[in-house]
Symmetry: C3
Subunit: 341 residues, 3 copies
């Protein structure tokens, strides 16, 4: 694809020969002829001078230092994402149901949908058009899967789960397993609380491999449009996640917590149950969020990041604590000496 | 089902018309006619006045404030669990082996058992009566699965795993994979230590989606009767978990640790290896348990909760640490001034 | 197998009757006649005196206290690993493709390879000799799997993943799912960044159940020879893990971090992205590693363990913090009294 065409289609300013052709993406360091690279993270700026890419997507500030053609963008990573998707489209669907798949007679499949070997589609499931049901994936009875969505190999949808359009559920993820509802009786014996809700996932959602989203106890667990969940995330029953929120790997959200729209949640963050998190909250990784957050902003756990900075100042002092208490003891001894003198 | 019948069968005191019929459960806020709701968490008491449920299960204290019929119980959540199970029974089994399932000739299936499409049952496996083997689940050679248990879609039992009666293994859980046993040799090269034990899971156990329970190195890893494990929990080899213990999502138990009966373990709690945890221990979520616990009680990690409270008092002081050390420096300067004067 | 033969084959010094036969392994406490046990962890030394094993593998120091025959080794756990593998070999492969498996016409299978029921092997995949493809496992298009490797039930390899020889991928692990690459646009809307790299896994690697290794954004995610990853580990895109590194369960490595050779990483350890960790680094469990580590050694998080020891001294003082600040206030009051007097 010519740089001229990419510049037009992705709204970038082109520096260099418009007829140069690129046909694949590469890293700045690994690129050769025909490769398009990008520079978005300042960490990699030192690699720009030596790149052998045919073209680099970057911001205006870096353009002058670029030794090869470049596409200048106000948001280079976003422009790169769009160009990379053009250069590396997913393999086209092969519509039809594999001989070794098992689709219930009462299930409905839209036009152009591909059901791979070993996939199982349950009674009354309704699958849209141009959907991919990967090898050994399971779509339970009564599920809805919207047009252009992809259920990757081994992913499991329990009964009655609803997935919107253009969403992807990655391999071995589990959507709609029972929430953890148990009532304790005499002798500590647990009685299971039926989990009669389901899961509703919006449009343009991506859910990572080995992530689990539990079905609601009564109402549905809800994942808004445009949400991105990384791998190995656990979403408890009755949780609601607002539109365009992203959450990195191994995070966990306990039951009935509501997270707002456009939040960015670092990896391994854990949310207690029954919390409410405002829109536009950013939480650094590894945090334990034990309280609700009612204002947008940057947080470490449920603590605003500016307080967290002050916390870090105290943390430096923490390293002086043993010495400080010894000094306090010395002062106290001196004081006693004065009192006695 | 009439409230009169529910009151009798579940041992509740009925306030209201005994002939009122309920046919489904709902939340206090979402309920309409025909719905049974419950109030167990004081957090939701404010929703009681406006509920449109036909009946609410609640405790004696809340009964007076209930605007509709109610079933009064000493343990409303437990009563609700029983009633909900009556109103929403699981779909009945469809006994038989799906054409696309694969059951070894030497495997034995009990009466009324359902084996879904894509499920694989290995040589010499013995499956009890009224068992569900879900789509694409795998039951390894020589496994035992007791009556009325359910192996949900995609769950994997390695060879020789034993599951009791009325137990559920949720989707994509893995029971009996090799424990992490590696011996280090010259040059840091690892030699695998064969994991020749297996896993024994009791009756009435529920194991969550994407949870793994490793087989023992020599003896069996053991999960007692009535245990509840949430999703994405890792149980290492040789671990023993006592009866009726419950563990919330993303917890992890390192090898050879023994956890007592009736413990309640918060989500994301991590146990080091080779520990011993007493019966009736409750551990708050997110804790790192690095020492054994020999007495019942409430703990934050391996620290009793009352010590944890004192810890929190110190934690408040932590926020004053930088200022305190500056004050200490001022006092020291003053002291020096006095000494020199 | 006779102790004489084991001593010769595993380079141990035999104390006891060379004609004694052992045919299985057992724990010191559980062993009976015919059992071989081992003593490597001093924690279990008290069990030596009462063991009924026919033979114990142990070090020279413990040999005198052993009441039965023993095989003395400089590295008893390593010697035990080798002997146990001889006494408990894995079940032999049953070469061939199960009727219910689905192997693409263009895929190539080596001699002696076993493909179990429900397994799916994609177009142009090349599978070596004596490989096991377990029940319901999925090997994507264009994958390479080296000789003598084992893809256990339900494990998923996305397209173009490469696995070396003698490696094991445990059940329901996911290799090669898309890395978490999303570019943020106006309104917080995410655009997926195509993940066009793949995953390269070396020889003699073992990857635990429910572990995910994401494919690279551009270049490959790389797992070196001899690496051991336990269960439920998340490896982000572009990560590189050096040879013979071992990582315990539920650890997580964020994107583009490079971990050296022969590292030992405790369970639940989390690595931030874009870090570089030297060879021969040992990190205790549960740590958050937020900075690069450039020297071998023992670390708690990114903090050297000797600093961590000093940290623990300060942590003891932390328990005295509230009291210390009260004492500081008293001193300040006394000082004020002196100043005013």
């Amino acid at each position: 694809m010519s740089l001229a065409m990419l510049a037009v289609r992705h709204g970038c300013e082109l520096h260099g020969d418009p007829d140069t052709i690129v046909d694949h993406v590469a890293t700045l360091a690994g690129a050769g002829p025909g490769a398009l690279a990008f520079l978005a993270n300042p960490r990699y700026r030192t690699q720009l001078a030596a790149t052998r890419a045919s073209c680099v997507v970057l911001d205006a500030e870096s353009a002058a230092a670029c030794p090869v053609a470049c596409l200048v963008s106000g948001n280079p990573y976003l422009s790169y994402a769009g160009i990379a998707a053009e250069l590396h489209p997913p393999p086209p669907l092969r519509p039809g149901v594999a001989a070794q798949a098992c689709v219930a007679d009462s299930a409905v499949l839209g036009a152009g949908t591909q059901v791979d070997a070993g996939a199982v589609v349950g009674e009354d499931a309704r699958i849209g058009a141009r959907v991919l049901i990967g090898a050994n994936a399971v779509v339970g009875a009564g599920c809805l899967v919207g047009d252009d969505s992809r259920i990757m190999p081994g992913a499991i949808l329990y009964d009655r789960v609803r997935i919107g359009r253009r969403s992807t559920i990655h391999a071995n993820a589990v959507i709609g397993a029972d929430g953890f509802g148990n009532a304790r009786g005499p002798g500590g014996v647990w009685t299971k609380v039926p989990q009669v809700g389901s899961v509703a996932i919006g449009d343009d959602v991506e859910i990572g491999a080995l992530t689990s989203v539990d079905r609601g106890a009564i109402d549905d667990t809800t994942i808004g449009n445009g949400v991105r969940l990384d791998n190995q995330i656990q979403i408890g029953h009755n949780v609601v996640i607002g539109e365009h929120t992203a959450m990195a790997a191994q995070a966990g959200v306990s039951g009935s917590t509501r997270i707002g729209a456009r939040c960015i949640i670092g990896g391994r963050t854990a949310f207690a149950g029954h919390l409410s998190i405002a829109d536009d909250v950013v939480i650094t990784g590894g945090a334990n969020v034990t309280h609700s957050i009612d204002k947008p902003g940057l947080y470490s756990g449920a603590i605003p990041a500016d307080e967290a900075r002050s916390w870090r100042k105290n943390a430096v002092r923490f390293g002086q604590l043993d010495a400080a208490i010894r000094r306090l003891q010395a002062l106290e001894a001196a004081q006693r000496g004065q009192d006695e003198s």
